[in-house]
């Protein structure tokens, strides 16, 4: 065993010395290789973290949301639908939700106004999301004025700012009480934005949704599992799009690496010839080249992956965030939690380390099996 290890150590020593003879070329290759792994790993880690986070957060979303559709568009829903819905067996609770959008021309951003169910907010007061507080420079006790749909100006006192660590779900939220909401948007009593319901048995959710569409044909139920699926698909899709955008540089690298790894230079051919002439076995030459490929690709993988990990989980994926998060004035500031999918990392490892190592070994095997004299000529 120790003989085997010693032998590999000598081969590695020789390989490193050989790589050092073409220092510039090999360091350049390592740099480009590392950059490619860094780009791929960053996208992968960031989207995986966001996907996992979205799934965990939205597990607490309403089980079923019922929207009324008029002429193919989401419309206000009358409160008496609540009573009609209650007759469906399996529905444990139902309530109306009031929420809407407000475009603030001062910062050219959309806010989401929402009426909380279990939070008491005084008239003329509001609770603001941390993103709005940051953008508008608001703090508790400050006043903010908005022009309502009727043309009158409403002035609200900021009663509280929502926690900064919940910005991913609440950056653009403005919480007001029901009376203020209805007065601000001019929504009459007895109308809601949509309805939410809880189903006693989670296995019956689909059945309840089916019954809903029969009982209330002008409504559209949105299930929690559909919400979760939407976000899962969204991040997969975005990851795919970024990968497509990266495909050009990826292909360029593949051509470069393939050319470097598989096309033997005259100098390398001569080196193999000399090694064989002084008594190296074909297997030793192949082993030496295997170590060359493995050292370069493993080094690039580790460097690229670690740089991506630091980039995503310590610097909030500063390079990719604009593409993956979207484009908005009110941008949530959040640090993704490090969730890692072992299979994804293994896939990245396989597709970055394995092809290069193989590409280095195959042409060497061809050169090393030929006669040293012919190779050196």
């Amino acid at each position: 065993m120790s003989h085997f290890v010693r032998r590999q150590r000598y081969l590695i020593d020789f390989t490193v010395a050989s790589l050092a003879r073409r220092k510039g070329k090999n360091l350049g290759l390592l740099g480009v290789y590392t950059l490619i792994v860094f780009l791929l790993a960053s996208v992968m880690l960031f989207t995986q973290a966001l996907r996992q986070e979205a799934g965990l957060l939205l597990e607490n979303a309403p089980e079923v949301v019922v929207q009324r559709m008029v002429a193919g568009r989401h419309d206000l829903i009358p409160a008496d639908y609540l009573e009609r819905m209650g007759r469906i067996r399996g529905v444990a609770a139902q309530y109306g939700r009031l929420w809407g959008y407000f475009y603030d021309p001062a910062v050219q951003a959309n806010y989401t106004l929402l009426v909380p169910r279990d939070r008491d907010i005084n008239n003329g007061e509001m609770i603001v999301g941390h993103g709005i507080a940051r953008t508008r420079g608001l703090g508790t006790g400050d006043f903010i004025s908005f022009r309502a749909s009727s043309g009158t100006t409403f002035s609200f006192r900021v009663a509280e700012v929502l926690a900064a660590d919940a910005e991913l779900v609440s950056a653009d939220l403005l919480l007001v009480n029901e009376a203020d909401f209805r007065a601000f948007f001019g929504i009459a009593e007895g109308l809601y934005t949509d309805l939410a319901l809880e189903v006693r048995n989670p296995q019956e959710v689909r059945k309840v949704a089916e019954k809903l569409t029969v009982l209330l044909p002008d409504t559209r139920p949105i299930l929690r599992e559909e919400i979760l699926r939407t976000y899962d698909a969204l991040f997969q899709w975005r990851q795919g799009i970024v990968f497509v955008l990266l495909a050009g540089s990826l292909l360029a690298f593949v051509i470069f690496a393939w050319d470097k790894a598989s096309g033997l230079s005259a100098e390398e051919r001569r080196e193999i010839g000399i090694l064989k002439a002084i008594g190296w076995e074909t297997a030793d030459v192949i082993r030496m080249k295997f170590w060359e490929g493995a050292l370069v690709s493993l080094g690039a993988f580790l460097l690229g992956y670690l740089a991506a990990y630091i980039h995503v989980f310590f610097f909030d994926a500063a390079l990719f965030a604009p593409v993956l998060k979207g484009w908005a004035v009110l941008y949530p500031q959040f640090r993704p939690q490090p969730f890692i999918d072992g299979l994804q990392v293994a896939t990245l490892f396989f597709f970055t380390v394995f092809p290069y190592t193989v590409a280095t070994v195959v042409p060497i095997w061809r050169a090393a099996t030929t006669d040293p004299d012919a190779v050196m000529r």
Binding site: A54, T112, R119, I227, Q236, W237, V329
Partner: protein, 108 residues
């Protein structure tokens, strides 16, 4: 016959592989540390506040794309309706073009 010590040894850097192997080992250790860090920090306790808020307010979407109503509340938007804002209004927000089509359209 010259003494063995008199034979000129070709120049070969002693243990040239030591430094790269040490660096690789350090890289592997850091890789393992990143997995441990993810296992340590990557749990839902850090998200407890946000999760509670989602449950309390009945939130349905992440505030990631606040530029338009159909990107702010992706799961609530009538995404299958063409021309969301007015007839012939093409989607002009980059997020909108990065949102996947409905699942049924992507099924073979």
């Amino acid at each position: 016959m010259p003494a063995p010590s008199a034979i000129a040894r070709p120049h070969c850097p002693a243990r040239a592989g030591n430094l790269p192997l040490l660096l690789l080992a350090a890289g592997l250790l850091l890789f393992a540390a990143s997995l441990l860090d993810a296992a340590w920090r990557g749990n839902d306790s850090a998200l407890a506040g946000s999760r509670a808020l989602v449950g309390e307010l009945g939130l349905t979407d992440l505030a990631l794309f606040t530029e338009a109503r159909y990107t702010r509340h992706l799961s609530q938007a009538d995404r299958h309706t063409a021309f969301q804002d007015h007839p012939l209004a093409l989607d002009h927000f980059p997020s909108g073009s990065l949102v996947p089509p409905p699942a049924r359209l992507r099924q073979p």
